[in-house]
């Protein structure tokens, strides 16, 4: 599934990020494919706020649709 589909407090693993620019940005922020992240807030049809360790990042819904994630069991 894609990142925009996850709900608040859900933990997921990033499988792939379609946009090359977003991948490079994410790497600098500390997020790469395989990173475990938690959704700490979500605005309906708006951005998803992810946390990895203590780092929080807001990702717009358009980009979130291009990020494949895998849910944590």
């Amino acid at each position: 599934m894609t990142l925009d589909m996850i709900s608040k407090d859900q933990e997921v693993i990033i499988k792939s990020i379609k946009s090359k620019t977003a991948r490079v940005y994410a790497l600098r922020f500390g997020i790469n494919e395989g990173s475990k992240v938690k959704c700490v807030a979500k605005i309906n049809n708006g951005p998803i706020i992810l946390r990895k360790n203590h780092q929080e990042i807001a990702i717009g819904s358009g980009l979130a649709k291009q990020i494949e994630v895998e849910t944590q069991k």
Partner: protein
């Protein structure tokens, strides 16, 4: 390597060696800079950008405080400035935030990979414990291969150790990312920092596959270092993280945003624009100064024409200083004080996340709120900062909306002052009309302007109580910059207006504009002066409104029309520089048409 390039770039003394302070945004670089250099701070405007670089002196070194970045690359102006300084400096103090070590180590390792001599400052260690984090500093030192010094700069802790490390010259080249050589060799390149910089695309804003591979390799490596040296538990999170969620959640975030805007309005519009300005403009300048200067000029200048130009209604020694020092100066300082507090608290990126959804509807993402908010300070400055936006389309839309709907700090202060006298409902109506035009024009631009918009991708820094000294320093430099830039334009504008008045040309123009001003807008003909002044500077135009007698409804129409009226001369010039003359003329003409149309419709409804 030490080619004095940084000294040349920033025009600083070249007999001293440069140490660059480098780190991610909001890690406390400026606080460390202040502790090291004391009060001897100089500011240099970096050529070709909007970015100011501070530098100061510590013993035989010049310490250069670089803009916060996440990596050495060229994605925006800040990064370009930091990139140039880093590539031309050998000694670097890399400041990292102890709480966000996994993120910050990417830049640290990049600096090490570039074979810089580095000292790592592990700042804000006092927050580590509060966040249930444990850092093995010795292990971190061993893994990076450079000196690591723990500080809590805002409390002054660890600064002595940092100074000692600088005195003992403990700067060291660390251990570069393993396998980096292999990647470069596979591309037929010999390993050196220059070939690495080239492979990492540091001089281009686009991204390449090779760059991505190197980034991925470095990210995996620093994650390993992080996992070996840091133990943490995010289950028991601190109050700040909860507060962060409250600010982002629309249910709680929107009322907090509205409350913040109300506080800003009360502070700027009531406390400063009315009470303080009443004292500075009417009492200090209007009574004491004006009486004094008229007396002196009356004694030495007998020619009536000259008297009119010097101390008449639009005189260079009467109207200009009264408005500039009595009215604009307090408003500009007040605005920058408020903005510095907002900036330093880490609230702005959260506002960006909160408004992202709404901004998507006008072809922008939430990040565009930053130039929009800065536009309330100075539209010209904000026009430049649209460079942070991801695509040309977003920049064109934002610049248009800035030029059309956003009043600058002094204009905002004057508007707030005038509107609070009209009453609460006028304030609400004013906000709704301007917001409606903002949304409507934004929607149209989204449809009309071709191209793509980018998605929000923004780091939310830890929320912090702003440091008073930092806030005051920022306010000082920003207000000074704004006022020095405004000064000559004001002098010229006043002179032009004084001349038009003294030669009766003003009267002719007023008569010429009468069908629109008194006929269509139903306003007193003197308002024409406000429009003329607004072309030169919007805030100057708004200031003119203070002196013209109108009814409440007329004042309301005048406020809406002048807010939407054309961008001032400096933002017009800036728009031309960024996007060409055709675009800025288009914005100028459309703003004039929209302003008069909206004002006229409003006048016919309420007058």
């Amino acid at each position: 390597m030490n080619c004095h390039c940084v000294q040349e770039m920033l025009n600083i003394p070249d007999d001293k060696e440069v140490i660059a302070l480098v780190g991610n945004p909001n890690v406390g670089k400026s606080v460390i800079f202040n502790k090291l250099t004391g009060r001897y701070v100089e500011v240099s405007n970096y050529p070709g950008t909007t970015v100011d670089v501070n530098y100061g002196f510590y013993k035989d070194y010049v310490i250069v405080d670089t803009p916060g970045v996440y990596g050495i690359s060229s994605f925006n102006d800040e990064e370009i400035v930091t990139r140039d300084i880093v590539l031309n400096t050998q000694k670097i103090i890399n400041v990292v935030d102890s709480v966000h070590l996994d993120r910050d180590l990417f830049l640290t390792q990049q600096l090490i990979d570039y074979q810089k001599e580095v000292i790592v400052v592990l700042n804000m260690v006092d927050e580590v414990e509060k966040n249930n984090i444990k850092i093995d500093i010795e292990k971190l030192k061993e893994n990076l291969g450079v000196e690591v010094i723990a500080t809590s700069a805002s409390k002054g802790e660890g600064i002595d150790k940092l100074k000692e490390a600088i005195d003992k010259n403990l700067f060291k080249k660390g251990k570069s990312t393993p396998n980096l050589e292999k990647i470069l060799e596979s591309e037929g390149k010999k390993f050196s920092w220059e070939s690495l910089a080239e492979a990492e695309n540091v001089f281009s804003s686009s991204v390449s596959e090779l760059q991505e591979n190197i980034y991925a390799l470095r990210r995996t490596y620093v994650d390993e270092i992080f996992n070996k040296t840091v133990k943490f538990d995010t289950k028991k999170l601190e109050f700040k993280n909860k507060l962060s969620q409250v600010l982002i959640n629309p249910v709680t975030g929107i009322p907090i945003l509205l409350a913040t805007l109300y506080i800003m309005y009360y502070f700027m519009g009531v406390l400063v624009a009315q009470r303080l300005v009443d004292f500075t403009m009417n009492t200090v300048m209007g009574e004491y100064y004006l009486g004094f200067i008229k007396g002196i000029v009356g004694k030495f200048v007998s020619n009536l024409f000259l008297q009119k130009i010097i101390v008449g209604n639009y005189g260079i020694l009467s109207m200009f200083p009264i408005i500039f020092f009595g009215l604009l100066f307090p408003l500009v300082v007040a605005f920058h004080l408020f903005m510095s507090i907002l900036e330093d608290s880490g609230y702005l990126p959260r506002i960006a996340a909160l408004v992202d959804r709404v901004f998507n509807k006008i072809g922008l993402n939430g990040r565009a709120i930053i130039p929009i908010i800065l536009g309330f300070g100075c539209v010209t400055m904000a026009t430049m900062t649209t460079r942070i936006l991801g695509s040309k389309r977003e920049r064109l839309i934002t610049m248009f909306l800035l030029g059309l709907t956003i009043p600058c700090s002094a204009q905002l202060g004057i508007i707030s002052g005038l509107i609070s006298r009209l009453g609460f409902w006028y304030l609400i109506a004013y906000i709704l009309i301007i917001a409606f035009i903002f949304g409507l024009v934004g929607r149209i631009l989204k449809k009309v302007i071709k191209g793509e918009s980018t998605s929000l991708f923004i780091d939310l820094p830890t929320l912090r109580v702003p440091q008073l000294s930092n806030v005051l320093k920022k306010t000082y430099y920003k207000s000074k910059g704004f006022l020095t830039e405004a000064f000559p334009i004001f002098v010229v504008a006043t002179f032009v207006l004084g001349f038009l008045d003294a030669t009766n040309l003003l009267h002719t123009i007023e008569n010429f504009a009468q069908p629109v001003v008194t006929g269509f807008l139903k306003l007193p003909k003197e308002i024409t002066e406000v429009f003329i002044l607004s072309i030169i500077r919007r805030d100057y135009g708004a200031a003119g409104l203070v002196t013209i007698p109108t009814t409440k409804s007329q004042m309301f129409v005048a406020l809406v029309t002048t807010t939407l009226f054309v961008p001032c001369i400096t933002s017009f010039a800036m728009m031309t520089k960024e996007n060409g003359l055709k675009y800025s003329v288009f914005v100028w003409v459309s703003s004039a048409v929209i302003a008069i149309l909206v004002g006229g419709i409003l006048a016919h409804i309420i007058l």
